[in-house]
């Protein structure tokens, strides 16, 4: 390769988003292979699997400064920084994680991991099943939040981390962060639970089901074994993402951003994308369908639906959290109608009942569920303050 071209490619300034002094900079994903079988909640056993992960900052000698970042439905292990060969690919929570940022990598050793069943490098439906030599496809176990946490604990063992200083996640990521304090109470000192719910409502599950039906009724789905047919259920995945996207935004922000604006001044009396919101959803759907695996999307939505730590305790979340002894920070966003503040308050109530250390902030934000990814100054100030008070 011409060295000049290479320099240009590797120079992140070429994308118009120069790396700031508080970026973790160029990062490299790593892979860990696990040979100890993992018994999943569904009864299936994964004999071996791989987890792809990234780390930022330095694990201190006492190994007391590790923070686990758990990703949501469509997230990945790429939490912060960018890749040398893909400088436009900036981590999904880069505004939070970096030197001097609220989750300060000068102080903390931050771990991002792609969950089992994912499609970004960890073992998932598109990986080769060693027993058949073909992709797992529909045979990949329906993994749960508990299974993810169990696999993340093995990654912690691999990294030599006995006890995390904290775990943090938003939405489905927050559910994992919360589950950690139940599954491994002695291995998690603090947990930041953002824009979460202790379990999905019927309406939430309904949205999951619409997304799944869109994928599974796509003629290219082939019962989940579309890899063998050399196709992907792109249209289904596209619609699934469009539905999801609607639930991530508030009515107000959608109205403010798009209103009833049309791409041309008049009504055209056809069914092409005419309103800006249609065009936006189609664009988001297309972008997502080209990078995400449909089977992974099915698994992630199912993990969401099944999550309910109180299930084994007759619906009593207080009883489910009895074993927890982490310190908690819980935050919700006023305009989040997917997991509204009342759902976070259910978690807070259970923590209060158990006399655990907990702070709860209800953040005034207009962006809906997606607000957890934005860098609202008050929200980030709260996270910064909480992290700063964590003793190493």
């Amino acid at each position: 390769m011409d060295p000049n071209i290479s320099n240009q490619l590797f120079d992140p300034t070429t994308d118009g988003r120069p790396p700031t002094a508080d970026s973790v900079g160029i990062v490299t994903a790593q892979k860990a292979h696990f040979d100890t079988p993992l018994a999943c909640s569904c009864g299936a056993v994964l004999d071996g699997y791989e987890l792809v992960y990234e780390t930022y900052g330095t694990l201190n000698a006492a190994k007391s400064n590790a923070v686990l970042v758990c990703h949501a439905l469509s997230g990945t292990h790429h939490v912060a920084g960018y890749y040398a060969d893909d400088p436009n690919n900036i981590g999904w929570w880069d505004n939070l994680v970096g030197p001097g940022k609220p989750l300060d990598t000068n102080r903390f050793f931050v771990v991002g991991v792609n969950n089992l069943g994912g499609c970004h490098g960890s073992t998932g439906p598109s990986s080769i099943n060693p027993k058949t030599g073909n992709p797992y496809g529909a045979d990949f176990p329906v993994v749960t939040v508990e299974d993810w946490v169990a696999s993340q604990a093995r990654l912690a063992d691999h990294l030599g981390i006995d006890c995390f200083a904290a775990s943090i996640g938003g939405s489905l990521g927050a559910m994992q962060a919360l589950q950690w304090t139940i599954s491994y109470p002695d291995r998690m000192r603090h947990t930041l639970v953002i824009a979460a719910a202790p379990k999905l409502s019927a309406q939430n599950i309904a949205f999951s089901e619409v997304a799944r039906q869109a994928i599974m009724t796509d003629p290219e789905f082939h019962g989940g074994n579309y890899y063998a047919h050399g196709v992907i259920p792109k249209n289904g995945l596209r619609v699934a993402r469009m539905v999801g996207h609607i639930t991530y935004l508030s009515d107000d922000v959608m109205m403010e951003k798009f209103g009833r604006a049309r791409r041309s001044g008049t009504y055209n009396f056809h069914f092409d994308a005419e309103f800006e919101i249609e065009s936006y959803l189609r664009y988001q759907g297309d972008k997502f369908a080209s990078r995400f695996d449909a089977n992974t999307y099915l698994l992630m939505t199912k993990a969401l639906d099944y999550f309910d730590p109180a299930h084994d305790y007759n619906g009593d979340l207080t009883a489910a959290l009895k074993c927890a002894h982490a310190g908690f920070f819980v935050a919700s966003f006023t305009s989040d109608w997917r997991f509204p503040p009342a759902r976070s308050r259910e978690i807070v109530k259970a923590l209060l009942d158990n006399e655990l250390d907990v702070s709860y902030a209800e953040i005034n934000a207009q962006h809906g569920h997606d607000a957890f990814l934005l860098d609202d100054p008050h929200y980030h100030a709260l996270l910064r303050a909480y992290f700063e008070n964590i003793k190493l």
Binding site: F329, R345, L352, D357, Y360, H378, L382
Partner: protein, 210 residues
């Protein structure tokens, strides 16, 4: 009911210097107890109780800046509007529920006192005494009082239910509230003579009438 001497060490603790009622509150709280501080502000009282008396506790606040201040101060805080009650807290789960200089700004005065006694074994309330002679003399001269404990103008005050010491004690008698202790303070001094006239700040500890 008895007036008590304020604990001198606590009274002159620099951490509490801005709020003389905090010293009175702190001198009543038993070490190691569980406390809920309603309208806890920046969490300074809770931090003090935690550090000096190993108290476990939570603050409740509505204001964003105070939530952040509490987290910086390392105290537990729950963002909630007190006017909506304390439904997130189980009955009889706190040794003390504190409402310091917030009662007079509450719209639902009766329901918050009821909630305090539902959630806590004892309640501690502080408020500026509207019967204080300086307040009375301002009103006699035809103006609303403005002072250290009543720092607002009539048009920007959050205070909607100002009362005197005698008003509050009558309220308690009518609402099944048994007053256990009272301290009346002006500046840094405990007032024993004619408290409703000479006291600017009232501090009460009470429980539900058995």
């Amino acid at each position: 009911m008895s007036n008590i001497e304020l604990n001198e060490t606590i009274l002159h603790d620099p951490a509490l210097k801005e709020r003389t009622d905090f010293a009175a509150i702190a001198s009543w709280i038993k070490p190691g107890s569980k406390v809920l501080d309603l309208g806890c502000g920046d969490g300074v009282l809770l931090r003090y109780l935690k550090q000096s008396l190993s108290v476990r506790g939570y603050g409740v606040e509505i204001d964003d800046a105070n939530i952040l201040a509490c987290i910086k101060n390392g105290v537990n805080v729950i963002q909630n509007d007190l006017e909506t009650g304390l439904s997130g807290f189980e009955s009889d789960t706190f040794d003390y529920v504190i409402l310091s200089q917030t009662l007079q700004a509450m719209h639902h005065t009766e329901s918050i006192v009821k909630e305090i006694l539902r959630v806590g074994r004892e309640g501690i309330v502080t408020f500026p005494n509207f019967g204080y002679w300086r307040a009375r003399s301002r009103v006699l001269r035809g103006r609303m009082p403005v002072s250290k404990n009543l720092p607002y103008q009539w048009y920007d005050t959050p205070n909607v239910h100002l009362c005197t010491i005698e008003d509050f004690e009558a309220f308690c008698a009518e609402h099944g509230v048994r007053i256990l202790e009272r301290v009346v303070i002006t500046a840094d001094s405990v007032i024993k003579l004619l408290p409703n006239l000479l006291g600017s700040l009232a501090v009460y500890r009470f429980e539900k009438k058995k």
